[in-house]
């Protein structure tokens, strides 16, 4: 099967048979075309999801620092949950699945040694984020995608200071609940991704993350009824 885009066959006489043999082995031969309804939904979803992002590209330079700090804070949520899980299992190596995103992994809510900076509540975790997904790793906010996240939380930014952001969760849809989340320092690699979210002190957010990566571009965003519905569908209470 060839795609609708496929060009008219290029003359390549001696090896047309080879091309045909490869085509006959096409694993996508059974992929059905997208219906016009699904296509329209994709168009709408893409443009709608990005509208917020586009608006944030305008005149938000002054907040870029906050932007990535708070998005990184969501990463901490993951590690916090994982950290607790690790302690519960008594296996420090079990956190390896998140190690790509979190370095200097500290403790968890139950770990009194977790805090190596300012005094923190018992359920605070501090992490350093290294790396991050490049631009383009954005997923649209569908409940199916949200349902795959390790952490999904309704949280409000309570404080932002130099190099540190604090969020107060009001509801964990999934993941280990902690009292608060604090993040210090993130890598510049995140800048591109974090353009997608505009966090402001005092504002309420829905944040999701998986395997050490915050899911942005609409999945983690300022609280809205529509996004809340997506989360609710993903994790019905």
């Amino acid at each position: 099967m060839t795609s609708p885009h496929d060009q008219p066959d290029q003359p390549d006489q001696p090896r047309d048979a080879l091309r045909e043999r490869i085509r006959a082995a096409d694993p996508a031969a059974t992929v059905a075309p997208v219906s016009s309804e699904d296509r329209a939904a994709l168009v709408a979803r893409t443009t709608t999801d990005d509208r917020t992002i586009e608006s944030r590209h305008d005149g938000t330079q002054a907040r870029s620092r906050l932007t990535w700090l708070v998005a990184a804070a969501a990463v901490v949520l993951i590690a916090a949950g994982i950290g607790v899980a690790v302690l519960d299992r008594g296996g420090p190596d079990a956190s390896s699945s998140s190690s790509s995103a979190a370095t200097g992994t500290t403790g968890s809510a139950a770990d009194p040694d977790a805090s190596d900076g300012a005094a923190e509540p018992a359920s605070t975790t501090e992490l350093t984020l290294v790396g991050g997904a490049p631009l383009g790793r954005c997923a649209p906010p569908s409940s199916a995608v949200v349902a795959q996240q390790d952490v999904a939380v309704d949280a409000t930014v309570t404080a932002i200071s130099e190099g540190q952001v604090t969020l107060a969760p009001t509801r964990f849809y999934t993941g280990q609940a902690t009292d608060q989340v604090v993040v210090q320092e993130v890598s510049d690699d995140l800048r591109a991704l974090l353009d997608a979210v505009d966090f402001v002190d005092g504002q309420r957010y829905l944040v999701s993350a998986t395997d050490g990566e915050v899911t942005l571009c609409g999945l983690s965003d300022a609280w809205s009824p529509a996004l809340a519905r997506v989360y609710e569908e993903a994790f019905p209470s």
Binding site: D6, Q7, P14, A25, A28, T46, A139, S142, A144
Partner: protein
């Protein structure tokens, strides 16, 4: 470009690229990652709509290629094999009536492709599965047309040799050797 014009152009681009990109991804990754990457590709098309050429599909393949590489690097492919997305799952058509010999042969060809260096295999996939001309393959891979043509020629030879070798080893497909092996080429 006005907002309205932008939307309209994007709709046309989606119409042009979505099915080819879905097939492109279905050939290279699992369903969940394919859906994920497709969303990324469309988002990039939307954000960079002024840069999308009229012949948008090879351009979109290039975006998909990079996005897929990123996804693979992040290990998402492995982690999401079992994941399900509600939208845009490939709907397999009935395959129970497929010719068993064709099925075996298809598997042989895919194995032969997989045995090649990835660079060669990808060239051949783009050539045969995406049905691209060398100039379009060059665009996707970000290399020159001349280099593409040269590499493609070599890749075809390698695949023909690999298929021939496998046919000899398995005792299958001897009848295809003549059609796929360039004259004068043989492999011990």
């Amino acid at each position: 470009m006005s907002s309205q014009a932008r939307q309209e152009r994007f709709a046309l681009i989606v119409e042009q690229v979505v099915d080819p990109c879905r097939r492109y991804l279905a050939r290279r990754t699992d369903v969940a990652t394919a859906d994920d990457v497709l969303s990324d590709v469309l988002l990039v098309c939307w954000r960079r709509i002024d840069e999308v050429p009229d012949d948008a599909v090879p351009w979109a393949y290039g975006v998909a290629r990079r996005a897929l590489a990123n996804a693979d690097r992040a290990g998402r492919r492995q982690r999401r094999v079992a994941a399900k997305l509600a939208v845009l799952q490939p709907e397999g058509r009935a395959t129970t009536d497929a010719d068993p010999q064709a099925v075996v042969e298809g598997a042989d060809v895919r194995q032969a492709l997989a045995a090649l260096p990835e660079r060669d295999a990808e060239l051949l996939r783009l050539w045969a599965w995406e049905d691209l001309a060398p100039a379009q393959i060059a665009l996707v891979l970000g290399i020159s047309v001349n280099a593409t043509s040269l590499r493609l020629r070599r890749a075809k030879d390698k695949l023909a040799d690999e298929i021939t070798l496998r046919a000899r080893q398995t005792g299958r497909g001897a009848g295809h050797e003549q059609s796929t092996t360039p004259p004068g080429r043989s492999r011990p």
